[in-house]
Amino acid sequence: MVQPLDIHQETPSQTAGPYVHIGLMPSFAGIPDIYENQLGESPIADGAKGEVIEIVGSIYDGTGWAMRDALFESWQADASGKFAGQDGADPSVSGYCRFAADGETGEYTLKTVKPGSIAGRGGQVHAPHISLWIVARGINIGLQTRIYFEDEDNSTDPLLNRIEQRQRVDTLIAKKTADGKYRFDVRLQGEGETVFLDI
């Protein structure tokens, strides 16, 4: 026998299921009036500094079907690389958003400001990115990934540089489709599978 470590184990995950919108986005589920407000409706308020951008995409299952029931949460820094609550952060950027794949088309839209690069431990600098968390029926534990941008310098990003199969780096990079517009598709499985994170 040894001394106990006094460490608790994390609670096991379970799928968010098909009705996750009731709990997290009741308006989307058809229950618009149950609360005074919905959380995470927009990551920015009027007056947010930086370039306002729109990211559009779909999430595909292993058969190539654009999923109609996925729910996303995003978390990001402001245009100067500060997160809400940090000294000097833009008060008009909450950095947090909830959005869902459209029930008819499967497409999602995220309107936000482009984040700045982020300082990490030991002087590392992370290229501008948005953290993405994805839940849906059939996903047993929420999937984490990141959205980077093709028109930023990603060459020294410590996470992207950890990806051994260099062609997979591309799965984390949003493609510019017009001024201020980007496309970012997620592929859950198989050809072009998005790099998911354990972070």
């Binding site: 149950i34 999923m67 990001q76 820094a77 300082a119 029926r137 929420g142 790099v195 972070i199």
Partner: protein
């Protein structure tokens, strides 16, 4: 801000397997490549906060919140309560807990649910609250019904309440389900069975808590939730820019 240290890496062995043929939808919705493991940084260690002013008085009362206090939902009245803590055993104060569930007949108020059990005109099916200074939370609700779902020929979900928790870091984000002590359907459920370690599944089964049940009013069920903790950073560099 002092560096609280990176998040403790997730122990994936306690979680459900992503790919499980018994839960058919997971087959095409599970990554086939390994996850990329990396130490957390500011993106994972920071997270959204929600102010007390955001919440209404009935937000954590599912019996009354849909009717705005006009009429109670139908079903067995229960108190669901517990504590949110981290892996170090510390309570997580002021963090968002959200729940959603079927009504007493097993029907969800969602455009995609066509089960023949009727909707309850006084039940919406969601609630939300912030934990108190010690990490405690509570919801007043009704016991959800079991319901059938399209998977194998005759699969039924045990009675359950879906729970979403934040913590203070985006990397702590967790969704799970609470089951009820003594429900025989737990052992037959392919979703519960995605957790391969039985003692871990047991941690999702809430015990009946007579000590917090209120005479002539409601039964109580206790459900504690543990989120990822932080690793101490003695002998390490401080996080720059924080």
């Amino acid at each position: 801000m002092a560096d609280l240290g990176p998040l403790i890496p997730r122990n994936r062995d306690i979680h459900p397997v992503p790919y499980d043929p018994g839960y058919k939808t997971s087959v095409a919705r599970s990554p086939s490549q390994p996850l990329l493991s990396m130490e957390s940084g500011a993106s994972e260690e920071t997270g959204p906060t929600f102010g007390h002013g955001t919440f209404g008085a009935l937000d954590n009362n599912l019996i009354m919140n849909f009717s705005k206090g006009a009429a109670p939902a139908i079903g067995e009245r229960i108190l669901m309560h517990g504590k949110v803590l981290d892996e170090r055993g510390r309570g997580v104060p002021n963090t968002l807990v959200e729940i959603w569930q079927a009504n007493a007949g097993g029907r969800y108020r969602h455009k995609k649910d066509g089960y023949l059990a009727p909707l309850d005109p006084n039940f919406g099916g969601c609630g939300r609250t912030l934990t108190d200074d010690e990490g405690n939370y509570q919801f007043l609700t009704i016991r959800p019904g079991a319901y059938p779902w399209p998977n194998r020929g005759n699969d039924w979900r045990p009675m359950h309440i879906h729970i979403s928790v934040f913590g203070h870091s985006f990397g702590q984000r967790l969704i799970t389900q609470m089951y009820f002590q003594g429900d025989p359907l737990i052992d037959m459920c392919p979703i519960a069975a995605t957790i391969k370690n039985r003692s871990q599944l047991d941690r999702l089964v809430a015990p009946l808590d007579m000590s917090n049940s209120r005479p002539l009013d409601f039964l109580a069920y206790k459900f504690d939730i543990v989120l990822r903790g932080r690793r101490q950073t003695m002998f390490e560099n401080k996080l720059e820019g924080m």
